[in-house]
């Protein structure tokens, strides 16, 4: 009896450590941390949702371009590029937003058109494809000139 003073002191130290941990924890865990829905899939810091939502969106979609370029887009609905978004070739809208006098990128090179229309193994048949620019000119029985581009014959907004 009475030979456990060292054990009492040890217990006091341990309990102090445990309580200390929980107090420290209270300072570090964000208030919005909790279970939203199920514990397995919804345990997270609640504020994260709003933070992710409020991130800046670069691409805006064709509807946004239509606000100023309505006629151009309406016309394009008649052609082969009806389903192709403006931003697919012209880059994201926000680049244009800062100053509408700055034009969006307009890549009029053959390579730009070939990125979709070159005949590459794996491309489905519904897509019009050509082997090469030179071959295409030959097939069309047109003279091949080095400076010639696709857009010299095809309107990029309303192609065939």
């Amino acid at each position: 009896m009475g030979h456990f003073n060292h054990i009492i002191r040890l217990c006091v130290v341990l309990i102090a450590v445990v309580i200390g941990f929980f107090i420290v924890r209270g300072f570090f865990v964000p208030k919005s941390f909790g279970t939203y829905g199920s514990y397995q899939y919804g345990y997270h810091r609640g504020d994260s949702d709003a933070e992710q939502e409020n991130m800046y969106a670069l691409y805006q979609g064709t509807e946004k371009c239509a606000k100023c370029h309505e006629k151009l887009i309406k016309d394009s609905r008649a052609g082969g590029h009806a389903a192709v978004a403006c931003e697919a070739c012209h880059g994201f809208w926000q680049a244009h937003n800062k100053n509408t006098k700055d034009t969006v990128p307009r890549d009029t090179t053959v390579e730009s058109c070939m990125s979709c229309h070159e005949k590459v193994t794996g491309r489905p048949d519904f897509l019009p494809q050509i082997n090469s620019f030179a071959q295409h000119m030959k097939d069309q029985e047109e003279a091949f000139e080095p400076d010639l581009k696709c857009i010299d014959c095809h309107n990029p907004h309303v192609p065939l």
């Binding site: 030979h3 060292h6 002191r9 941390f33």
Partner: protein, 384 residues
């Protein structure tokens, strides 16, 4: 990490191996902890008297390795400053979340056991020294100098209790790592229910092996001989645990090969290719058969002491390599093939860098330095 050499098709995000050398080192170190602690508990709980010469050393070894067990992880984490999130907001559906609490709990258990075992020495040193040293030892013994027979009897009971609680804790500390890998359905090389048990058995093997090697080296340095009965017993336990370990490892391989699931074609190519040296040559052939035979001879025949010690030490070194190879093959091997099962990559750790070879070597050496420092503070070898 040096540039990876790929073959076949991998998902674009898979080219770089994410869990590197340090993640191979972490289960290796916790494995040494588990094995050393089991040896210590064999004496403190199960009363294997022949292990008394290494019992205290085993406990200190377990504690030293445990102190540094978390360091490879801290070096690996993308945000080590947020490491406490694992204890502040653990998500218990994840095996990894157990790490914080299991590790802390087990660290406290081992620290407490050391405190109780060394309390008479702490009290004696507090009473014998003067000045700052006296203060240090007094604080260490919490200001209580009661070493009467009743107090020591109580201490002994508590030590037994702690050692008993420590055994399942050690098993969980290492078993959860095995479960972490074994429960991952996305990786067919890792996914098996046997993984926690394989990890645990090989952990015990490596722990006993490191004790044998360290004991032999330290005795040599101190100019003393190893205790014969102790060495014989250690070799016997080593052989026993290794038999279980290698059986499970082979069973896992056999099972995978026999079932021949879709992943088997990729895994067999992995084993025959990138893992050929570390898995087939090191883990399965050289570092398994030689120790198996040697330890069998040691356990079944009565040998001359020097022969027995030599065989025991060589086997232990080979087994330390075997267990390290096993960790490498599991952790790195599982990342060398694509989840598309169509391609392979390679991994070679760099020497410098946060996850390089140098860091790994230093972290592995630190527990041995710690054991030396602890010996200076609280000598744990018998004075003769």
């Amino acid at each position: 990490m040096l540039e990876a050499v790929t073959q076949g098709f991998l998902y674009p995000n898979e080219v770089e191996v994410l869990w590197s050398l340090l993640i191979v080192l972490y289960p290796y170190i916790t494995g040494l902890v588990a094995g050393a602690f089991i040896v210590s508990s064999l004496y403190h709980v199960f009363g294997r008297e022949e292990l008394k010469p290494v019992a205290r050393f085993a406990l200190v070894a377990a504690f030293s390795f445990l102190l540094f067990a978390c360091t490879p992880l801290l070096f690996h984490l993308g945000h080590p400053e947020r490491a406490f999130n694992i204890m502040f907001t653990p998500k218990f559906t994840s095996a990894m979340s157990g790490f914080g609490y299991i590790y802390t709990f087990y660290l406290i258990i081992v620290a407490l056991e050391i405190w109780f075992v060394f309390r008479p020495d702490m009290v004696r040193l507090a009473q014998e020294s003067i000045g700052l040293k006296k203060l240090f030892y007094s604080v260490l013994s919490l200001g209580v100098f009661d070493v009467s027979e009743k107090a020591l009897h109580l201490d002994h009971k508590i030590t037994t209790f702690l050692a008993a609680v420590g055994i399942p804790s050690a098993c969980v500390l290492h078993g959860y790592v095995g479960f972490l890998f074994g429960s991952l359905k996305s990786n067919p090389w890792w996914s098996t229910p046997l993984m926690p048990v394989i990890f645990l058995m090989s952990a015990i093997v490596s722990g006993i092996a490191v004790l044998i090697v360290s004991y032999a080296i330290i005795m040599k340095l101190r100019g003393k001989t190893v205790d014969s009965a102790c060495m014989q017993s250690l070799c016997g336990y080593l052989w026993g645990f290794f038999i279980v370990d290698v059986t499970l490892e082979l069973l896992e391989l056999l099972s995978m090969g026999y079932e021949g699931e879709e992943s088997w074609s990729a895994i067999s190519q992995l084993i025959g290719g990138r893992l050929q040296f570390s898995y087939v040559v090191l883990q399965l052939i050289v570092c398994s058969t030689i120790p198996m035979v040697m330890l069998g001879i040691v356990s079944l025949w009565k040998l001359k002491e020097s022969t027995r010690n030599t065989l025991g030490i060589i086997s232990s070194v080979l087994l330390l390599i075997q267990v390290l190879a096993m960790r490498w093959n599991v952790v790195v091997g599982g990342q060398l093939f694509s989840k598309s099962l169509r391609g392979f990559t390679s991994y070679m750790p760099s020497f410098l860098g946060r996850e390089g070879l140098l860091v790994a070597l230093i972290l592995f050496a630190m527990p041995f330095v710690t054991m030396y420092i602890i010996n200076r503070i609280l000598p744990y070898w018998e004075k003769e």
